[in-house]
């Protein structure tokens, strides 16, 4: 029974199914890649008592890393494609800042979220532009991981796909240096994940528009009067 102050909300279908599938395949493969990558960087000794013919666990860790690497790459390619055919929230134009209001919104978000001033303008239905900017940045880190990862993989694979990226190795001065930077970039994902997961929950709590459930079911809720702004 609505009272006078209860405001009507509208339901918006923000994240289409392909975007949601992309998100979770991406998130899971990145977590797998980071965990296996970290182990490749500094393997933990377990089952020390067994002889090599009895175990192959490090081989499996590497296998998971490479398999997840392929999935991660094709998933990313798919998302790039979808940014041309998907809805307005998924489009490339909402990630690449090219309009003044995008910068204004990013600045506004910084003020509201970090300095914690009161929200003045319209809350964006899709990403806020600050988030969009970090996704854009992360996209380049992802590309970097793909190039360096497959570049390294070319040294131990006969498949043609990794060889497309073999040029990065001489450019960076050898496998060792490619591995160094590939390893450093892993930390970008760790730092991103901490902030990203926290902020998703934060927005869900503070704005009460179903931010978290949106990335599962696709729906967000928007105050009626927001549409008039």
């Amino acid at each position: 029974m609505a009272t006078a102050t209860t405001l009507p909300y509208r339901r918006v279908y923000v994240w289409e199914l392909p975007v949601r599938v992309f998100h979770w395949v991406n998130a899971i493969s990145i977590v797998l890649l980071a965990v296996t990558g970290f182990l490749i960087g500094w393997p933990q000794t377990i089952w020390m008592s067994d002889e090599p013919y009895q175990q192959y666990w490090f081989g499996w860790v590497r296998f998971i890393h490479f398999a997840a690497g392929y999935i991660f790459f094709f998933n990313l390619l798919f998302r790039v494609y979808w940014s041309f055919v998907g809805n307005e929230y998924a489009r490339w134009s909402s990630y690449i800042p090219h309009r003044k209001e995008q910068f204004l919104n990013a600045w506004e978000t910084l003020k509201v979220d970090i300095l914690q001033t009161k929200e003045k303008g319209k809350i964006s239905v899709g990403h806020n532009y600050l988030a969009a900017l970090t996704y854009l940045g992360l996209f380049f880190v992802m590309l970097f991981q793909v190039v360096t990862g497959f570049g390294l993989y070319a040294g131990m694979s006969d498949a043609w796909l990794p060889w497309l990226f073999a040029w990065i190795v001489p450019l960076m001065g050898g496998d060792a240096w490619v591995r160094q930077w590939h390893h450093i970039a892993m930390w970008a994902f760790v730092v991103f994940t901490v902030i990203h997961v926290y902020l998703s929950f934060y927005h869900d709590v503070v704005e009460g528009r179903g931010t978290i459930s949106a990335i599962v079911g696709g729906w967000k809720f928007e105050r009626d009067d927001e549409f008039d702004k």
């Binding site: 029974m1 393997p43 192959y56 666990w57 860790v61 001489p170 050898g174 060792a176 160094q180 390893h183």
Partner: protein
């Protein structure tokens, strides 16, 4: 057709080698160059008829370990014949001539054999202040190299120095030591290693002798023959790597059992060389077999990677920091920031959340007259 430059067979004959020894040499040469048996006739033919190419071997910023390696080839006859039959017309460390006489011999060789001689270069070239850091006979290494390279039929860069700059190019590279492939426009055969394996060196020279052209090279100018696989791919300790069995300490049980040296900083996984196959010192062994990790001596900037560290140090964050120190710090700082933000928000955003609550539909309006907890905020609007 005995011209003044005899064929290899001609030169061997003159030195008293028998035909049988010549055939043996051809067989070994085939193996050294990594050819198939069916190429035998071609090799014999080449060595019988082609004039043996004169060789100029230049030494710049180096330690002569490449030369030392070369003369220890496991097939004495190859080294012997190559030294005897290649007309090593100029090589500072082995030639008899000295001073102006030596310089004249170099000039003569290059003039007489324009476009025919093989140029082997050991050492990097310093560029600092017009190359003042390395001069021979009053001329800079750069000058000598450019002149010698101009009319060479093929150019080989011996060792890490000539291929990548080696230790003199390690940070901060005080003399601006530069690999020769960056200084001359012609194709250069890079044969990196500190030193390169003797059999790899004789293999490359033999290939040049037989075919008169470079072997197949990879994108970094290295003969694919010897540098297409990593030490790690052919290492006999590899099963321990795949099983996740690592040496953690130089004198632990795992070290005694011969486990993988990855965590002790072995660079085998990033080093392209033939060590684990060809081995060193007449096939006796290679460093990992002796219990020491690969230091990556055939790779670019291997001195800057650290010989015993799994990952290179990360510059700019203190001497001991690695990528992980930097990453961990960043993560901890971020987590602390997030925690702080959560605390701040729960205070400063309280009002926003309360407003949201006020706007919401209350599906359970309290019954009139029932007691309401003072801090209950889940009703939409004033119930009374």
């Amino acid at each position: 057709m005995e011209n003044q430059v005899p064929s290899i067979w001609g030169a061997m004959k003159a030195k008293g080698y028998s035909r049988r020894e010549f055939m043996y040499f051809c067989g070994v040469a085939i193996a050294a160059a990594g050819l198939e048996r069916s190429g035998f006739g071609q090799v014999v033919n080449a060595f019988e008829t082609k004039p043996r190419p004169p060789v100029v071997w230049l030494h710049f910023q180096e330690c002569t370990c490449c030369s030392e390696s070369f003369i220890r080839s496991s097939h004495p006859i190859v080294a012997d014949v190559i030294f005897d039959t290649l007309s090593l017309d100029y090589t500072e460390t082995l030639q008899a001539a000295a001073g102006t006489q030596a310089e004249k011999s170099l000039k003569d060789t290059m003039e007489k054999n324009k476009g025919k001689y093989i140029l082997l270069v050991e050492g990097s070239v310093p560029l600092l202040e017009d190359g003042i850091c390395c001069t021979i006979g009053g001329r800079s290494a750069l000058e000598i190299l450019k002149e010698a390279a101009a009319d060479a039929a093929a150019i080989v860069a011996w060792g890490n120095c000539a291929s990548h700059g080696c230790i003199q190019a390690a940070k901060p590279n005080p003399t601006q030591a530069t690999p020769i492939s960056k200084l001359i426009k012609k194709p250069v055969i890079n044969v990196p290693g500190c030193p390169p394996i003797a059999e790899v060196m004789t293999g490359v020279v033999t290939h040049l002798l037989i075919f008169g052209k470079p072997p197949e090279l990879d994108s970094r100018g290295r003969p694919k023959e010897f540098y297409s696989r990593r030490v790690h791919d052919t290492c006999y300790r590899r099963p321990f790597y795949d099983a996740g069995l690592f040496v953690e300490n130089w004198d632990d049980d795992a070290a005694r059992k011969g486990y993988c040296l990855y965590k002790m900083g072995c660079k085998g996984p990033t080093t392209y060389n033939a060590c684990a196959v060809t081995k060193w010192n007449q096939g006796l062994g290679y460093p990992i077999q002796a219990g020491h990790g690969c230091i990556g001596c055939s790779e670019e900037a291997f001195w800057d990677q650290g010989l015993y560290e799994r990952l290179p140090k990360f510059p700019g964050f203190g001497i001991e920091s690695t990528a992980d120190t930097v990453g961990r710090t960043a993560t901890v700082v971020t987590a602390a920031g997030v925690g702080l933000h959560a605390i701040m928000s729960s205070i400063r955003k309280r009002k926003v959340i309360e407003e949201n609550m006020d706007e919401s539909v209350n599906i359970n309006p309290p019954k009139p007259g029932s007691a309401m907890p003072a801090d209950s905020v889940d009703e939409g609007g004033d119930a009374s």
